[in-house]
Assembly symmetry: C2
Homo-oligomer: 350 residues x 2
DNA sequence: TTTAAAAAATGAACCGGTTCAAAATTCTCG
DNA sequence: CGAGAATTTTGAACCGGTTCATTTTTTAAA
C-alpha cells in the first residue's frame, strides 16, 4: 500500500528514472533541483511530482565527483574520552552544521600511526578539510609536512608553526594566571600537578606557573612543588594528592586539568583536609563539571566555544580558495574563573 | 624540492595520470590496487612507483559510485552534551573504526525537524546506515516509517517496535533494581527524581520504581515521593533536592540519571545532610564520574559498551545483505552497581 | 617448432550526477 | 504574420574510479 508496486527497481531511483517519468531530459531534472528559476513552472511541477513519487534523493557523492565541493569535514581528536575534547567536538559539530556541513568524527587515541591512517582515509573520502588535534607533539620535525593529497588542515589546541593554520590557547599565560591568583591570596607553598611529562599543553602550563613565581620575586625551588602524573584522569589526581601529603603539605594546588583537580580534591578530603580552608585548589579547562562540583572549582577557562567556532570557520575559509592562502595562527587568551575552591567569597553560581 | 615540478596538475592525480606515467592501462592500475596478485610483479612495481610519485590517493566517492558499499556510518544522537551519549559515541566510534568504517556524527539536539533533516542528508551521502538515538518519542505513530531512500537504521536506547532494528536497555527493570536495593537496606520513604515528564526512558524508570514498591507489598502513595524536573542536568537535580527538603525529608532518593543525582547530592550537602548516613542516593547510567564522585555513587549501570558495540555490529550486518533481513530488537539488562552513596561497606574502588 | 592453455593487460562502458553549447520553443513587436 | 530576441529544453561528454569481455603475451606441453 505504502509502496506502489510500480517501483520495482531495487537500487534507489536515479536522475534518469526521474527524467523518464516526468518525460523530460536529465538536464532539466538537474536544473529543477539546482536552478529552479530557469525552468518553466509547468515543467518544474511535473519534475517535482516525479521526484516525490520515486522518493528520489540526489546522490551527493556523484555531485562531488563532478566538481561540487564536499560538505564533509573531518575531525580528528586525540582523546574522545576527555571532557575537553568532547566539549570541543560538541561546539564544532554545531558550527559545522550551521554552515551546512557535517562532521566525520575520528579518534586517534593519541597514536600517531592511527592518526596518519585516519588522515589517509579522510583524504580518500575527499573531505573538504580536517580539524586536527594532533597526537604528535614533536616540535622539531614537522610531522604534518606532507599530508596525503594536500588536504587542508587546521590544527586545534596546538600551534604548529607558520606552515599550518592553527587555533590554540596560550597555555603559558594560563599557568601564569592561576599562580598569580594564588599568590594574590597569600599562598606561598604551591604544588603543581602537571600531568604526564611530554604533553606539550601541560608542560606549557607548568612553565607559566614557574614564570609567575619568578616574576613575583620568589624562588621556584622553594615555593613550587612540581609533581607529574602518569595519566590525566581523576585517579591520577588522587594518587598525586597522596604523594603530596607525604611531604610538607602545600597550601595550594594547581592542576593541569580539571579531572586531576577533582582527583586531588578527593585525596585531600580523604586525608581530612578541607578546600579551600586548608588547601586552595585550581584546575584547568573549566569543563562543565567544574561549576557544579561539590566545592565549585576555580579553573583556568579555555574558550572552547571560540576555539571550536573559529577553527571551523578558518577551515572552511581555508578550503574555499585553493590558491593564495596564507596560513594563519590564532592564539586565544585563557581566562581565570574564580570559584569557592580558592575563594569562599565567590558567588555560588557562575 | 619536496614536490617535483613535473607535478604541475592542480587537481589531485587520478588513475589515468598514474596509468599514463606507468605506461599501462587504467584497468591495470585498478587491478594493482585491488587485486595485486593478478598483475605481473614487474608491472605492479612500475605502477606502485607511479602511484608514490604522484601521491595518488584513490577517490573513495568514485569507488562507491561504481557499486562498492560505503564505509561511512551515520550516528545521530539527541544530545551530545549528555555524558551518556558521549560515552556511547566513544565506544561506537571505536567499534566502527575497528571494522574499517568511519562515523559521521550528528546532533539532533532533541529536535525532530533537525533530525529528519539530518537523516535526509545522510541518505544523500549514501552512508551505509544510521545509528539513531531518536528525538521523537511518540510511541503510537511510527515516526521512522518512511525513511529517505530506505536507509538502514538501527535505533539505539529506544525500542521502536518490530518494524525496526533496535538495541535498548530495560529501563523498567533498572528502576526496579534501584528500589529493591533501597528497600533491602530498610528505607521506607523513597523519593524518585524522575526527569522531565515525556521522556520515555525516564518514565519507564519511574514505572519500575512503582512496580518494586508494589511487589514489596507497600503503597506507592505513601512510600514513594515522585518529583519531576524540567531538565536532566546537575542544576535540575539541585532544585529537586530543595523541593524535597521542603516537605518531609525522604530517607533515600533515586534519580533518573547520574547528573540529577550529583545535583541532589549538592542540595543535600548544602542543607547539612550527609550521604548516605541521612539520605541514601542512587543514580542511573553509571557514567564514569559516578565511580569517582566525592561519595562514590550507587548507580544503575547501562551497559554502554555493549549497547554501542552491538548496535554497530547489528547495523553493519543489517546493511550488508539487502534482502531477507528481519528486524531484530535486542533488550539488554541493566545492572546495579553498589557504592558508598547507599552502603558504606562498599569497597572504595570499583 | 607448433599449439593449446594459462596469465596478464587492455579499454570501452558504466555508476549518477552536472555542464554547456546547440536546438527548440515561446514571446515581442513592427 | 514574420523576424529576431528571450526563454526553455536537450543530450552528449565528463568527473574518477571499476568491471569484464576481448586481445595480447607468456608458459607448458606435444
Amino acid at each position: 500500500m505504502s509502496t506502489p508496486d510500480t517501483a520495482t527497481s531495487k537500487s534507489p531511483a536515479g536522475i534518469r528514472d526521474v527524467a523518464a517519468l516526468a518525460q523530460v531530459s536529465t538536464g532539466t531534472v538537474s536544473n529543477t533541483i539546482n536552478r529552479p528559476d530557469t525552468v518553466h513552472p509547468r515543467t518544474r511541477a511535473a519534475v517535482e511530482k516525479a521526484i516525490a513519487e520515486l522518493g528520489f534523493v540526489p546522490n551527493q557523492q556523484a555531485r562531488v565527483l563532478t566538481g561540487a565541493s564536499s560538505n564533509v569535514i573531518g575531525l580528528v581528536v586525540l582523546d574522545i574520552e576527555s571532557p575537553f575534547y568532547m566539549e570541543a567536538a560538541h561546539v564544532i559539530e554545531r558550527t559545522v552544521r550551521e554552515s551546512g556541513h557535517v562532521v566525520m568524527l575520528c579518534n586517534s587515541e593519541g597514536d600517531t600511526t592511527r592518526e596518519s591512517g585516519l588522515l589517509a582515509m579522510l583524504a580518500a573520502q575527499r573531505v573538504r578539510g580536517v580539524l586536527l588535534a594532533p597526537a604528535s607533539l614533536d616540535e622539531d620535525s614537522d610531522p604534518y609536512k606532507d599530508l596525503p593529497g594536500d588536504l587542508p588542515v587546521v590544527l586545534i589546541d596546538y600551534n604548529g608553526g607558520p606552515e599550518h593554520c592553527s587555533i590554540s590557547v596560550d597555555n603559558v599565560a594560563g599557568g601564569r594566571l592561576a599562580i598569580e591568583h594564588l599568590l594574590q591570596l597569600g599562598h606561598t607553598r604551591i604544588a603543581v600537578v602537571g600531568g604526564p611529562t611530554g604533553l606539550r599543553q601541560f608542560a606549557d602550563r607548568a612553565q607559566g606557573a614557574r614564570e609567575a613565581i619568578i616574576a613575583a620575586g620568589m624562588d621556584p625551588e622553594v615555593s613550587l612543588i612540581e609533581v607529574s602524573t602518569s595519566g590525566i584522569g581523576i585517579q591520577d589526581g588522587r594518587r598525586a594528592a597522596e604523594l603530596l601529603l607525604e611531604g610538607d603539605s602545600p597550601d595550594a594546588v594547581f592542576c593541569g586539568n580539571d579531572m586531576l583537580a577533582f582527583g586531588v580534591y578527593r585525596g585531600l578530603i580523604d586525608a581530612g583536609l578541607s578546600v579551600p580552608e586548608d588547601v586552595a585548589l585550581v584546575g584547568y579547562d573549566d569543563i562543565d563539571f567544574a561549576r557544579d562540583w561539590v566545592v565549585p572549582l576555580t579553573s583556568v577557562r579555555q574558550p572552547i566555544d571560540e576555539l571550536g567556532t573559529r577553527a571551523a570557520r578558518l577551515l572552511i575559509e581555508h578550503s574555499a580558495r585553493e590558491d593564495s592562502h596564507t596560513h594563519r595562527q590564532e592564539v586565544l587568551p585563557p581566562e581565570l574563573v574564580v570559584r569557592r575552591s580558592t575563594d569562599l567569597r565567590a558567588p555560588a553560581q557562575h
